[in-house]
């Protein structure tokens, strides 16, 4: 008898619960819909490259700090216009007219013809730009990937075409700086230049890229290590704490990261995705 009573009671509560939950669902439907669920879409099959990782010396920090980068997978090229278009078609909450303003600034996809049309004359195979960190994160999540961490990205970026760490070669820095002289590189197709040592394309030649923890690049404020303190207030002051003064390109990347905010969208700032891997060797 008690068992029956318990059962009835449970049923009653479960029922009344479901009902109230339903009501709320309808009340706040548009709120719920926007980013709890991200729909995946049939993305083009970008190849992911295995990076075995290892110890690396971050551009900033003292000489003794080595960071151990664990093995990971990274897209061999940046995310393209065509892929981002497929993403916003599957996820209308990321289309220009419906995206929540907390996630993007006013320039989000600003050169697109409409919510679901690429810019006039844009190459679908060119890297997507004018995307915020939030948008890049959502894209990656929708296909079961993530953004590379700052250390992962920089680890890959140490390579030139023949060596995994070309930082000390004058040719490495010169080549990047030469690229910076060329305007509007972001409109070019991906994978038209030579891949680096790891088989990763377009690390430097087309765009700047978001990293997952770009906001961990600190040049001012409360750093226990002391070496960053307020140096950012002085022109190029931060360079004195750089471990690699020849690497001016890396210095520019770090400056960029400290200057941007997650909702910024910029004409030549895009991203590529990464993924954890269980393979180690």
């Amino acid at each position: 008898m008690y068992r029956l009573l318990t059962f009835c009671l449970i049923m009653f509560f479960v029922f009344s619960c479901t009902k109230s939950a339903e009501n709320i669902e309808t009340n706040s439907e548009n709120v719920h819909a926007h980013n709890t669920e991200i729909n995946s879409f049939s993305s083009t099959d970008v190849k992911m490259v295995y990076i075995k990782g290892g110890l690396y010396k971050p551009f900033y920090g003292s000489d003794t700090i080595l960071v151990d980068v664990k093995p990971f997978l990274i897209d061999e090229r940046p995310v393209t216009n065509a892929e981002f278009l497929a993403f916003v078609k599957a996820n209308p909450q990321w289309q220009r007219s419906s995206v929540k303003k907390i996630f993007v600034d006013a320039a989000y996809l600003k050169d697109w013809k409409s919510d679901t049309e690429l810019p006039l004359n844009a190459d679908p195979e060119a890297p997507v730009c004018f995307v915020s960190w939030f948008a890049a994160k959502a894209f990656a999540k929708s296909i079961g990937k993530r953004l590379p961490t700052l250390d992962e990205w920089e680890f890959v970026a140490m390579a030139d075409t023949d060596t995994p760490n070309a930082r000390n070669k004058p040719s490495y820095s010169d080549a990047i700086l030469d690229l910076y002289l060329e305007k509007d590189r972001q409109y070019k197709k991906v994978k038209q230049s030579k891949p680096n040592y790891w088989g990763v394309y377009n690390v430097f030649d087309l765009i700047w890229e978001w990293t997952d923890d770009f906001n961990s690049a600190l040049t001012t404020g409360d750093s226990r290590a002391g070496e960053y303190d307020d140096k950012g207030l002085f022109c190029a002051g931060g360079a004195t704490s750089a471990t690699d003064v020849l690497n001016y390109a890396a210095y520019m990347r770090y400056s960029m990261r400290t200057a941007i905010k997650a909702n910024y969208t910029i004409a030549n700032l895009g991203f590529r995705c990464a993924k954890d891997t269980l393979i180690t060797n």
């Binding site: 009573l5 709890t36 600190l218 404020g221 226990r224």
Partner: protein, 197 residues
């Protein structure tokens, strides 16, 4: 018989509590796209309740990100928050929540936060301590444009920002640096409370 009653009672209680969570106030239809109530991340407070930012709507919010095991800058920030709290008029305080969000979700469990609140005498209902997971923390830090980095297992380096949100979750202003002007914050809070009366 006693056993059964107890069982019924505890089951009922369990269901009622889980029910209550669903009965959170429905969020307004015309929510601003700028509002932090758009964030879908789930947090827990010092009492172990799960909540989202939209559950904080209706009050002016003074928000700071810290971690409780911090020995350098955070105590100053916490002290600033306490000064701010004490300078808000008692008439307004019911319409204000002072929110301390942890950047160290691993260490800052609800029990830890509760303990911290107790030690620092921040136990009145206007004090809310929140922590979540790495992903939610990182997202919220980016909403505040806050820089932070784990520099050792127990230490973080981070920028010091106090942010004020109106009762609709839209950012009103931010004060940055350890020399935050407490009176500016208090004035902005009282203005915001008045505006949304």
């Amino acid at each position: 018989m006693k056993k059964y009653l107890l069982l019924i009672f505890s089951v009922a209680l369990l269901i009622i509590t889980s029910c209550t969570e669903n009965k959170q106030q429905p969020v307004e239809q015309n929510m601003s796209g700028n509002s932090i109530f758009n964030l879908s991340t789930v947090w827990h407070n010092q009492n172990g309740d799960s909540l989202q930012f939209k559950n904080l709507q209706g009050k002016t919010l003074v928000v700071v990100m810290i971690y409780t095991s911090c020995k350098s800058a955070c105590p100053i920030l916490v002290a600033k928050m306490k000064t701010i709290e004490s300078k808000i008029s008692r008439k307004d305080i019911e319409k204000v929540s002072l929110v301390l969000v942890s950047i160290d979700p691993e260490t800052d469990t609800p029990e830890h936060l509760k303990e911290f609140a107790k030690t620092n005498k921040m136990e009145e209902p206007q004090w809310i301590f929140l922590s979540s997971n790495e992903e939610a923390t990182q997202e919220f830090a980016n909403v505040l444009s806050m820089k932070y980095k784990k520099i050792s297992p127990i230490d973080f380096s981070h920028s010091n920002i106090i942010t004020i949100f109106n009762p609709k979750g839209v950012m009103v202003s931010q004060e940055e640096g350890l020399e935050i002007n407490v009176d500016n914050v208090v004035n902005t809070v009282s203005k915001t409370v008045k505006e949304f009366k």
